[in-house]
């Protein structure tokens, strides 16, 4: 399992991903789900992946090693000229792996399973955030719905639903994304530490945060404890129900 969230806000992009993979509950490992490809001043591309690890690794490899573009020229994520084309390019990478592996996976009783968040900015073009489905199609985050999630999205969604708007400051959004991640980790063993987090201000073309957050990270520990205490105080501050005979 996996949980990754991307928030495309007025001031920029925030992304957080966990690192736990599992094949059953008895085969657990750590793999980076959120990968940042940064050419400072030219482009910053963030790719978060969920689903079958063999599939998602192959998809990212195709994006790095290159695939033919619509004109037959080989493109990589360092040469694709716009984020809209990047989303299509990621979709083609998904379809390339699908054509190669889906039938064999099905014969083995497994579905072809992957989802990607593809976000970033290229030159003076717009900062954008897309979610690419396993069919290779995609949708885009907008001002009305400024975040997208992949993987185990439900446990961590209520806090984002209630707390984030398009105008939430980046630092606050990162904090909320970490709270959302903590809620998910507590409820689903298949999502786990360490975390990877990034912040990319709009038009900066360089990350201001690109960090691995481990179990011993003091700030994340503080978030966990503070949030638990604050939730407890929050529900204690609400009076008990008046129902009853």
């Amino acid at each position: 399992m996996t949980y990754c969230v991307g928030l495309l806000l007025h001031k920029g992009l925030v992304m957080v991903g966990d690192t736990r993979t599992n094949a059953g509950v008895d085969n657990i490992a750590t793999f980076r789900k959120l990968q940042i490809f940064e050419v400072p001043g030219e482009r910053v591309i963030a790719i978060a992946t969920a689903g079958n690890l063999a599939v998602t690794q192959a998809v990212v490899n195709h994006m790095l090693e290159g695939l033919p573009g619509t004109d037959g020229e080989i493109q990589t994520l360092y040469t694709v000229p716009s984020m809209f084309e990047m989303a299509q390019f990621a979709g083609r990478a998904v379809r390339t792996v699908r054509e190669r592996d889906a039938e064999a996976l099905a014969q083995d009783g497994n579905g072809f399973d992957c989802a990607l968040l593809v976000a970033g900015q290229i030159g003076e073009r717009r900062l954008r955030l897309f979610m690419v489905y396993r069919a290779g199609n995609f949708l885009e985050s907008t001002e009305d719905t400024p975040f997208l999630q992949i993987g185990e999205h439900k446990y961590g969604k209520p806090i984002i639903d209630r707390s984030v708007t398009f105008h939430t400051p980046l630092e606050e959004a990162l904090k909320i994304a970490l709270i959302s991640m903590d809620s998910t980790i507590r409820s689903n063993l298949a999502v786990g530490m360490p975390l990877d987090a990034m912040v990319l201000p709009r038009d900066a073309l360089a990350c201001t945060v690109n960090v691995r957050i481990t179990e011993s990270d003091p700030y994340f520990g503080h978030v966990r404890d503070s949030w638990s205490n604050a939730l407890r105080e929050a529900h204690l501050s609400i009076p008990n129900p008046p129902y009853g005979y």
Copy 2:
């Protein structure tokens, strides 16, 4: 969809269920999911249901109209002598419907889908809470895990995970269950008002709360607003992340 939660605590039982059913998003209706069968002083049985409404209605009907027990005698939920036998009885009702309907449902492309919470107390026997699966098997809530959920359980689980222990007072547990329900309603359109809620103190053999909570209920409105505000204050009270260059 549905969300129902049952909490079996030191002092008694709390159950809350929503009432929304949907066949697709364009066919939405209101049906009671949490049903209370009370013979004051003798037994109180609470049944919450999730899944295919035709299946769950048939299951509850079989429990009311009667099914042969292990000795061939017809039993109903008013005659089953213990809660352990009640869970088995509910399982037999599920299997009866399954034998009748599962093949036809499968031919129509639908799985046989249902889950029940079966809880209550009979005479001087223990107050108990069971979850009955669609296969008719079941598990029981224990002191370590004093709550069980059916239906859309993920959105509302973090608040219960963090706030409820076996020793949480009943009124507080009802409040937390309502917060859990509110979180779910906000994130999933297929879970909706009104709600049904009950509280059954241990050894009381009569509910102290058995209430329908509508959209206009002032307490539930207060819970919604207070919780939103409290969450906002809670995350604002945590400092912003120290990461960054």
